[in-house]
Amino acid sequence: MNIRRVVAAALAALLMLCVLATVGAQQKVRFLMKDFDSDPNTEAFIALIEKGMAAAGTPVDIEILKTPAGNYAEKIGLMVMSGDIPDLIYFQGGDEKLAQQGVLEDLTPYVKKSKYLKQLMDAHSATRLASYPYIVWLSPPRIRVPVMRKDWFDSLASARFAFASPSVDTYYALLKDLVAKKGAKYGICITGATNGVEELDAIFDAAFGNTSTWMKGADGKWFYVRSSANEKAKLEFYAKLYKEGLLDPEYLTKKWDTKEQVFYEGKAGMVAGVAPGSIDVYVNKMMKAQNTDLVPLPPAKGKAQGLTPFVDVTKEPRGFAISATSKVKDAAFAIVDFMWSPAGLKLAKLGIPGIHYNDDGKQYVLTDKYGEWPNGWFGDSWNGFKPDKPLSRAYMNASAQEAGALAKKYMLPDRTFLIPEQFVTNWDAMTNLYKEYAADIVTGKKPISAFDEFVDKWNKAGGVEVTKYAQTVLK
């Protein structure tokens, strides 16, 4: 009898042990991330993350789901549709429909409990999470900052003047000088083919009074900024720039690579780019092309002052989501949180020891392969990155960091709303109307008086209804 009881107890204990073992055993998280497969260091990187997480007391087994570049958006949709939903997913758009249908987990409680992530969130990131809690991401807002070559900046009085007191007039004078005194073919070049006049807006939109997509007028009613009197004055100015050769006459067909090309060749004196990331790229390329740094400039001050695009705080345009049906949600979030811990940040920002940097005891020496390392994989933000040893050189060009600081200083939070389904096709037509009229007015094909014609057509194409709707949905 006794033997039996002892054996039973032993078996029970063994069983308990097994159960505990599996519970304490590593949880497997299926992680879908863009471009993980094209970087040869992925395996090593993931191994280091797993090691770091085990050391931190939250061991995870990460399984990378590979997807090739260029098909990412379709691939996510297809995987989800076929029931093959990963646990941790990086989205670059396309998440709204999934969130609406309850496929994505509400991340608010996870962020609240987080050890590191919470403290490092910027204001705009927190606001976005609050209004759309399905995507979390830490990165500076995507804002464009104008830059010009340092060698030209140093030798032009108008440049320093525009820097000190930026206004529509001082910028105008600077652009004129770039052409007259520096031999540029035109003052500024913008990526017209994909962005229309948006890159000019980075400098001038606020100066003409536009500070968000929808603004409240003196009469207390919300109006759409692109069909307003502000816009008309702004376009008139742009048309003047175009006419006098200060704006690239072929801006409408410029794509990002051709725009950059004319800048490095000295044909354009100024461009605008997203700070700090793109500016960093421009600096590196300009150094190699013309051996000069870049100087970021503040936006023009007029009725208001600020950089664009207006920062949408309704949701993160990209970031991490966790599947609502995942069985390892905590483990999945633990990965994200870990990457913002000091140990995780070191991994994310410095790369693989031995390849991208070397620890010589006194500092971290960034190797020349460091440029290859995509340090923004888990978020572009550098918040919280305080390595225990100094770096042999700055991880980003000083001027790019300045541009980033300017972006944070002059950002304009947006007031806008998602166009409801019944207006989607109208809005598309209205947007195209704006694009076409703006293009024709700026390039001089139509006179500025055509703007009133545009407003009229815009209203008829649905502007009246959408504006009415806006009054109900904006506060």
Binding site: A69, E265, V281, N284, E372, G376
Partner: protein, 299 residues
């Protein structure tokens, strides 16, 4: 005598004019392509010297190709592409020829129905989503066979081949049947030998289709070791404004490569894609010989 001379001269002028016109056309086509080749072979520091119409490289450097080949899966992807193209084209030609033959036999029951079916299929694309679900259902996810089979028969080409098969003279077919040949024999011994130019053409079309495949490959393949060449190359021409996040990383792999112009890289990917076709096309041209029909009739 004078009349004969006059018309001979007209002939000469005519031929001259034709050759001139074709020369101009060839130049119009060739110049931008040579420009791309030059772009990819130029010394990166001198790339900006090339205008849109220059055909000679400035300086010489293989750096573009070195960067493209630096991808760890580059060699394997070439093998994958060869595999997909070879298997795919073989299957394509077999299935298309057999179907074209069957559909051109007036005695095929339900022939009209099949033709309508085929046209409907050609014109209605169900879209990638349902196709994906089907591929998943039959268990071909992450298999190169999904990429090979998703277009096993291209209806457009099928109908073209049918047109060629219909040109085979009835006497030859009847003669073979009288000799007791079954359909397969007729196809193999009579119809196919008389359609070599058509089969060579389809071989070219299908082959090119497989060689340039990247979209479906990206959707169905998860394992980078299985990626075909075009998919690997596309990583360099991803166009969204992610220079901040990823593009800058890959473009600064090597000190020299840091100067690489995006245009040169793009040009390199195109050259790599075109070369095999360029080499194989003259072989295909050999099948385009006059008088194939002549031999058949004499039989």
């Amino acid at each position: 005598m004078r009349a004969a001379m006059g018309s001979a001269l007209k002939e000469r002028l005519f031929r001259g004019a034709v050759m001139l016109a074709l020369l101009v056309l060839a130049a119009i086509v060739l110049v931008p392509l040579l420009n791309l080749l030059a772009l990819s072979l130029s010394d990166p520091r001198r790339v900006s010297e090339l205008s849109g119409l220059s055909v000679l490289p400035r300086g010489f450097s293989l750096i573009v190709y070195k960067v493209l080949a630096a991808n760890q899966n580059f060699m394997r992807s070439i093998l994958n592409s060869v595999y997909i193209t070879a298997m795919g084209t073989a299957i394509n030609l077999a299935a298309t020829a057999m179907a074209a033959y069957a559909l051109t036999r007036p005695t095929l029951p339900l022939r009209r129905l099949f033709m309508i079916l085929v046209i409907v299929i050609m014109v209605f694309e169900a879209g990638i989503v349902p196709e994906y679900l089907v591929v998943k259902r039959i268990g071909l996810m992450n298999s190169r066979w999904a990429v090979i089979l998703y277009k096993a028969v291209n209806v457009y080409y099928l109908i073209i081949l049918m047109r060629f098969f219909e040109e085979v003279p009835k006497d030859l077919l009847d003669a073979a049947r009288v000799d007791g040949a079954g359909h397969l024999t007729v196809l193999r011994r009579v119809v196919l030998p008389l359609s070599t130019s058509a089969m060579a053409t389809l071989g070219l079309f299908y082959g090119v289709m497989h060689w340039n495949e990247y979209f479906r490959a990206g959707i169905y393949l998860n394992d980078p070791a299985k990626y075909p060449l075009q998919l690997i190359l596309r990583q360099f021409v991803v166009l969204d404004d992610t220079a901040a996040l990823i593009g800058s990383g890959t473009l600064y792999s090597y000190d020299e490569a840091a100067r690489l112009s995006y245009a040169a890289l793009q040009a390199g990917t195109i050259v790599v894609a075109i070369i095999p076709v360029l080499l194989l096309y003259p072989l295909i041209l050999r099948y385009y010989t006059h008088g194939v029909m002549e031999g058949g009739l004499k039989e």
